[in-house]
């Protein structure tokens, strides 16, 4: 890593602002490039999750009733709690960025640590949610629950008749584990990045203390993770009863 930074540092005869890389003329150009670059990356993430949301839309639209029955097993309270946790972590993250702009180092680290705590809380709640699904044989595969009445009780009945199609329920849980799982992977990646950022701030690294942009970029990523959850929550946890 340091070899790269060294080879990049030579030969810029333009200003000597700390944190300015050799390929840029000034900090304005560098900041704008990094922000735009981050947004271009987030665009790819939009498409990445977007395709998943499309698949979800298609199946949900076709199997409304079965998806509604399947969603009864999800715990709205846990979902809402997790949403609040993520929203709050977004808030602390944005405060960390603001403190970075004001060069208040201790504030930055404090806010980042709170963000990190929120991320862990989210994962712990997620763990309990996943565990309850797996315990009830709602993880797709050969061992998937076959008896709708056993799994969903009265929800699977309509007018004394069994209406749930467990194949479609399995499809729902395939999407549930796929989408929330990929979101959780993004949370874990975010945790790693935030830990790295805290370390840089702790070590008073030049790359962060003279320039708020690295902190801002981690912030953008974190808000994006929040953004995905903002859509996942109503789509999975808050299905209206078909009426």
């Amino acid at each position: 890593m340091s070899a790269i930074t060294d080879s990049m540092d030579h030969g810029h005869g333009h200003g000597h602002e700390p944190g300015l890389h050799h390929q840029y003329e000034d900090m304005v150009q560098q900041t704008e490039s990094y922000i735009v670059g981050m947004w271009v990356f987030l665009t790819t993430e939009v498409m990445f999750f977007g395709a998943l949301f499309f698949i979800y839309t298609l199946y949900r639209w076709n199997y409304q009733r079965d998806f509604y029955i399947a969603h009864e097993h999800l715990n709205v309270l846990m979902g809402a709690g997790n949403t609040t946790v993520l929203l709050f972590s977004s808030f602390t993250m944005v405060m960390a960025v603001q403190s970075a702009q004001l060069k208040k180092r201790m504030h930055v680290m404090g806010y980042l640590v709170v963000t990190l705590m929120c991320a862990f809380t989210f994962l712990i709640v997620k763990y309990f949610e996943y565990a309850s699904k797996i315990a009830d044989h709602l993880y797709p595969g050969a061992g998937f629950a076959t008896d709708a009445k056993l799994a969903f009780g009265e929800h699977a009945m309509e007018g004394g008749k069994l209406v749930a199609n467990m194949n479609h329920v399995q499809l729902f849980y395939g999407l549930y584990f796929g989408m929330t799982g990929l979101h959780a992977v993004h949370i874990i990646a975010g945790i790693l990045v935030i830990i790295a950022l805290i370390r840089l701030w702790y070590n008073k690294a030049n790359s962060v203390i003279h320039d708020y942009v690295p902190t801002e970029m981690v912030g953008l990523y974190w808000h994006f993770v929040d953004l995905v959850w903002i859509f996942l929550f109503p789509l999975f946890y808050l299905m209206p009863k078909p009426h």
Binding site: Y24, V40, T44, P140
Partner: protein, 574 residues
């Protein structure tokens, strides 16, 4: 030439600094493997893509050899499936998508816009490592049993039935896809934010415009295939049923999502070729390109329309016929911007001072071949005719006319054109000219018979045709042609490598071309330009009158020299 940058010979005091260039500034292996310099990363890409091209070419050779007999020659059916899949995957994901953007785009983009480097050098190096990791995983998959799904990985075969290394190879493609995305991000930000003073959007070389369009598609389309293929892996390993028909999932949905990327990917492969050809045609015609704005915007139009035509790969997939009609219609629309380019290139050559150097021969060969490839695309884009031709050799011939005859020829043309800039050495242009003709002949001999045999009904992905032995003549012709083509691909490796040792030193501008990259020394210094260039003149700003006069002067001088020589030899005889 022009006044865009300080002419290099005016910089006497800095002459010593000029001798240090990006190639000789450091010599250790780590200085290459940890470099942030876009020019060195381009060379890393050049070596690695060539390696993968060689592997893909070997698979192609096996396919052609197998098809010389109606009953097959050496391969079992299973092995044949794995061989054509390897050929497809290696060529598409590790060569065609990467080759021109990552090699020439990386090398030239900062030079052409007058920047010191790409916006994110470390990301650029990272993208090469991702590419190598992906490529290695793909190769590992091929070695540990191969894949037999075809490069398209259609479900449910790939997700439920295929008992081969599908997951490993898909993970490789996923990682290689990230490398494409990061390259795209780098290019977009560089083009937006790093242009030299005076380099307005309409002074950008057309290469840069086409690279911008390519990057747009890399960024917007690649994530879709990444997630789609990842879901196939999830289905295989974690049993998450997304495309599983027995649970109510839809395998055709996979095709939709796959082609939502893979059709734009076709343009990711061909737009960089357009980029190279625009440079070649303008510079070797010594003329400002005809209809600059139209060519520039046609790239963006192709990028935009490219997102709206994925369904024309799915006419026989149980897709709604109404959607087929719409897709057929929009597919025809893509022909418009493509034709704008072809006609503008021809109009550029008209009354220009066409210099028949080897890159220009490649460019002209490209024009001829791509026109055939594009027009047969219309035959396949028609929802009706396509049903007759689906999965025949007609399709195979069509996309090889576009991909090999288009992208590969542009790659070779670009390689010859920018070789002096990359290495600072001139190669033997006579050999290169002969080679270009060999490639052209070999290519047509290989793929033209496939149109005929495909039209007659030869299915693709079959390794026998005992049901129609009359196809053999065409297959043998095709195999002969592929041998010639292979010669045409291997020979440049020799004379280009030779040029490194005994080639003459190339000046800053050996071709008499126009553009910022030709105004710095060859090979360029580490920071590309000794001082930030200030662009004052328009793009491709050739003066036709002066070029004509210069041409006349050169011809007259050559004739005078010849007659002097004759006179001299006559005097000797006396």
């Amino acid at each position: 030439m022009s006044s865009t940058v300080i002419a290099t010979d005016e910089l006497k005091p800095k002459a010593k600094a000029e001798e240090v260039n990006y190639l000789n500034v450091e010599h250790t292996i780590s200085s290459w493997l940890l470099t942030g310099d876009h020019k060195r990363i381009a060379l890393l890409y050049l070596v690695s893509t060539t390696f993968f091209f060689l592997l893909g070419g070997m698979a192609a050779g096996m396919i052609r050899y197998e098809l010389t007999s109606p009953a097959g020659v050496v391969l079992e059916s299973d092995t044949y499936n794995k061989v054509f899949t390897s050929h497809g995957i290696i060529m598409v994901f590790t060569f065609l998508v990467v080759a021109i953007p990552a090699v020439f785009g990386n090398f030239l983009l900062p030079l052409m816009i007058g920047a010191r480097d790409l916006a994110f050098p470390r990301l650029n190096l990272g993208s090469w490592y991702m590419y190598m990791t992906g490529g290695t995983l793909i190769l590992a998959g091929m070695l540990f049993g191969g894949v037999d799904t075809g490069w398209t990985f259609y479900t449910p075969y790939s997700s439920m039935y295929s008992n081969t290394q599908v997951s490993l190879v898909i993970v490789g493609i996923f990682i290689a896809g990230f490398s494409t995305i990061t390259t795209g991000i780098n290019f977009v930000v560089t083009i937006h934010k790093m242009r030299a003073p005076g380099m307005t959007w309409f002074r950008l070389p057309l290469f840069v415009w086409a690279m911008y369009a390519t990057s747009l598609m890399m960024i917007l389309a690649t994530p879709v295939v990444a997630i789609t293929l990842l879901l196939v892996v999830f289905e295989r390993t974690f049993k998450l049923p997304i495309f599983s028909p027995e649970l109510g999932g839809d395998p055709v949905l996979f095709q939709h999502l796959f082609w939502f990327y893979s059709h734009p990917a076709v343009y990711i492969m061909i737009l960089p070729a357009f980029a190279v050809i625009s440079e070649l045609v303008a510079n070797f015609s010594r003329k400002r390109i005809f209809g600059y704005h139209f060519v520039a915007f046609s790239s963006l139009a192709i990028a935009g329309l490219g997102f709206l035509v994925w369904g024309h790969h799915m006419f026989v997939s149980s897709q709604s016929m109404y959607e087929s009609i719409v897709f057929s219609l929009i597919s025809y629309l893509v022909a418009v911007p493509s034709a704008v380019k072809i006609f503008n290139w021809m109009a550029t050559m008209y009354k220009g001072n066409v210099v028949m150097a080897s890159p220009m021969i490649y460019a002209i060969a490209f024009l001829m071949i791509f026109t055939v490839g594009g027009l047969t695309g219309l035959v396949l884009g028609g929802a009706g005719t396509d049903i007759h031709l689906t999965a025949t050799y007609f399709v195979v011939a069509h996309f090889h006319y576009v991909m090999v005859g288009g992208t590969m020829l542009a790659f070779l043309g670009g390689l010859h054109y920018w070789w002096p800039k990359m290495t600072g050495r001139l190669f033997n242009d006579r050999l290169a000219q002969i080679n270009a003709v060999i490639v052209f002949i070999g290519f047509n001999l290989t793929f033209f018979p496939q149109f005929i045999v495909g039209w007659m009904g030869m299915p693709r992905r079959y390794h026998y045709y005992y049901f129609a032995p009359e196809f053999q003549a065409y297959h043998i012709m095709s195999t002969l042609g592929s041998t010639v083509l292979a010669l045409g691909f291997i020979w440049p490796a020799f004379y280009l490598t030779m040029s490194l040792f005994n080639g003459k030193k190339a000046g800053p501008n050996p071709w008499g071309a126009h553009g910022l990259e030709w105004e710095t020394s060859s090979p360029p210094p580490v920071t590309n330009f000794l001082e930030t260039p200030i662009v004052m003149d328009e793009v491709y700003d050739f003066d036709p009158e002066a070029e004509h006069a210069e041409n006349r002067r050169r011809i007259e001088a050559a004739e005078a020299a010849k007659s002097d020589e004759r006179k001299g030899s006559m005097e000797d005889h006396q």
